[in-house]
């Protein structure tokens, strides 16, 4: 199912990656030399207190931002050498995003929201709708195709967002606090869905969270503090329960 990377090539590889912001002429380092790889099909949780650089790392891994130092390779392509349009195409092909705030287009039906990434592939309307409808069916919303976001519950909205992230068959699914705006029951259901998709389709799942319990379900945990990775541990098969 995942985009064709040769066996053994990591989905994402970061070598000594740093990101420094310029705020009113003052350099503010958000990431200081992070080195990690994400392999196809992995399940990784990134945790750390706010301000630890989790979100910055997430934006870099997703190709939304470029590092100010180090080397970042996504899907076999060096991000530092790509122009903004090339980076956009790379995101479209290899990355799926799930945000805490869902980021669905209001006034747009669930199926059209899911089909949005396919628009930027130049896919025809009929084919887009078919694929989006199939993906909505897969996240259990086959009966909600033409509902608008404001007609859906929070849990359903996040499922629509997950379907949108996966409709392009990405290599990596980046989820930034995907349960942060949901109650416990819906949060659990969304987590279960993400894990199921990770297992079934082989898409790598990288989830940013500040919830230790949530992070505990991942096989691999990356702990961040002050813009650096302080621990990167892989549990025995079955996860850290």
């Amino acid at each position: 199912m995942t985009a064709g990377l040769p066996a053994g090539v990591p989905a994402i590889e970061a070598v000594d990656v740093s990101r420094t912001y310029q705020l009113d002429g003052v350099s503010v380092p958000a990431l200081r030399g992070v080195t990690l790889t994400v392999d196809p099909g992995e399940y990784v949780a990134v945790i750390g207190p706010s301000g630890s650089g989790k979100s910055t790392l997430m934006h870099l891994l997703g190709g939304l931002d470029r590092p100010t130092g180090g080397r970042l390779v996504i899907g076999g392509r060096d991000v530092g050498s790509l122009t903004p349009p090339e980076l956009a195409t790379l995101r479209n092909r290899t990355i799926g995003f799930v945000f805490q705030a869902f980021h669905l287009l209001p006034r747009t039906s669930a199926v059209d929201n899911v089909a949005l990434p396919l628009v930027y592939r130049g896919m025809g309307a009929r084919q887009r709708r078919d694929r989006a409808a199939a993906m909505l069916g897969r996240v259990g919303l086959g009966h909600r195709l033409d509902h608008r976001p404001n007609q859906l519950s929070g849990g359903e909205q996040q499922r629509v967002a997950i379907a949108r992230a996966l409709v392009t068959d990405p290599t990596v699914l980046l989820a930034d606090e995907p349960t942060g705006n949901l109650d416990t029951a819906n949060g659990q259901a969304v987590l279960a869905l993400l894990e199921e998709l990770n297992t079934e389709s082989g898409v790598a799942l990288v989830m940013v969270t500040h919830d230790n319990e949530v992070a505990g379900r991942a096989r691999r945990r990356i702990v961040m503090r002050d813009g650096a990775v302080v621990s990167d541990s892989t549990a025995a098969a079955g996860g850290v329960r």
Partner: protein, 394 residues
């Protein structure tokens, strides 16, 4: 992203903000409508003047002292009836030569009076200028030869002096001298706000006696041959110059008059269109303003679109098409409004108006171009937004 897709997205965005889209369009609508309307009025005025000049009679040649030029001071005439005879010999047919000596006079009948233009003329006038008589008869050669005090009234003069009786056979006094009414012109109506029926014709000889002068203001010749009209004019000017070596004369054809008037009215139309164009420009600034607001409001949407793979160009195109759609729709509505207003003005008011295809094409093209020009900056701004920053926006 496919082009058709971008159109659909732009249309959806406009629909989502109907009120704002309508108000933004209003600026463009007014701009385009005023361009169309003012150009129509300018064109209508030009056609009206051309129609009148052509209505003077075909192959007309007007001979006046001095230079016929816009801005030249009118020359004092030294032409006399003897010169008219000389011109008649050059033309070879006295029936083709008309003259005028005009003066503003008060004409009275009983207790009614009317201030009008009294023209001393020859009996040839109706034939040369193609004027129709409504009632009675026109001046005759013998009226002119004997300075008979007879008058032919324009329709509105007849209406003012004799509202309730037949003027034929009645007496009028012109500058205190009594004249007998022998005819009334068929009405010509108004054009460009000027009453063309406000005149009285009397024999040129009677006019000379009345005004105490021998002068002729101008000579009009109905040329027998359109092809050689310029040559005829040259011969007439040569003859008059021979008779008055120290005076300059001009012979002007209808075509030349049309040319000069056409130039003036063309400039006028251009100025009107330029003024209307300024309002179109203001409408364009409004479009630019609203597009900037729209980009700011939809920053999160832009961030999301970029995250899922929209290139800067895709986002830019989406907003550019939105601006073009606003101005193009506004342009179409403005054209409809402008055409409607021009047709209404033409039908309901004395202002003539004529729709020209070039003005419609120009107004629409300019409005679409305004959308592109004023949409580019907001569109570029949207396209260049940093997706990370955009996604965080509230």
């Amino acid at each position: 992203m496919r082009f058709a897709e971008a159109w659909r997205v732009a249309l959806d965005a406009l629909r989502a903000n109907r009120m704002r889209s309508a108000l933004t369009m209003l600026g463009v609508i007014i701009g385009v409508a005023s361009v169309v309307l003012l150009v129509a009025i300018g064109t209508g005025a030009k056609r009206e003047v051309e129609r009148q000049v052509e209505g003077l009679g075909s192959n007309l040649l007007v001979v006046v002292p001095g230079k016929l030029d816009i801005g030249a001071a009118p020359a004092v005439s030294r032409l006399s009836l003897a010169d008219v005879d000389a011109v008649s010999r050059v033309v070879g047919d006295p029936a083709r030569v008309a003259v005028t000596v005009a003066s503003g006079e008060t004409v009275r009948a009983g207790r009614r009076s009317d201030f009008t233009t009294v023209q001393g003329v020859l009996e040839t006038t109706p034939a040369v200028f193609t004027r129709q008589l409504g009632r009675g008869s026109y001046l005759t050669a013998s009226d002119v030869d004997t300075s008979r005090r007879v008058a032919v009234l324009g329709a509105s003069v007849a209406g003012a002096l004799f509202p309730d009786r037949d003027p034929i056979g009645q007496q009028v006094s012109i500058a205190g001298v009594r004249f007998r009414v022998i005819g009334v012109f068929a009405p010509l109506g108004q054009s460009l706000g000027v009453d063309r029926d406000d005149e009285v014709h009397i024999p040129v000889t009677a006019a000379h006696r009345l005004y105490g002068t021998q002068r002729i203001d101008g000579i009009a010749v109905k040329a027998p041959d359109r092809a050689r009209i310029d040559a005829l004019g040259d011969r007439i000017v040569a003859e008059l110059t021979r008779r008055h070596p120290d005076t300059e004369f001009s012979a002007v054809t209808q075509q030349q008059i049309l040319g000069v008037l056409g130039d003036i009215l063309g400039v006028l139309t251009g100025v009107l269109a330029a003024i209307a164009g300024i309002s179109l420009l203001v409408g364009g600034v409004g479009v630019s303003n609203i597009m900037l607001v729209s980009v700011r409001e939809r920053t999160r949407e832009i961030g999301l679109r970029k995250a899922v793979g929209a290139r800067p160009r895709d986002i830019g195109l989406q907003f550019l098409l939105e601006a073009v759609l606003l101005t193009a729709l506004g342009g179409l509505l403005g054209m409809a409004l402008g055409v409607g207003a021009a047709l209404a003005a033409d039908a309901l008011s004395p202002v003539p108006a004529a729709i020209t295809w070039w003005s419609l094409a120009l107004a629409f093209g300019v409005s679409a171009a305004v959308g592109i020009v004023f949409g580019v900056v907001p569109a570029q701004r949207a396209g260049r937004l940093d997706p990370v920053v955009a996604l965080r926006a509230e």
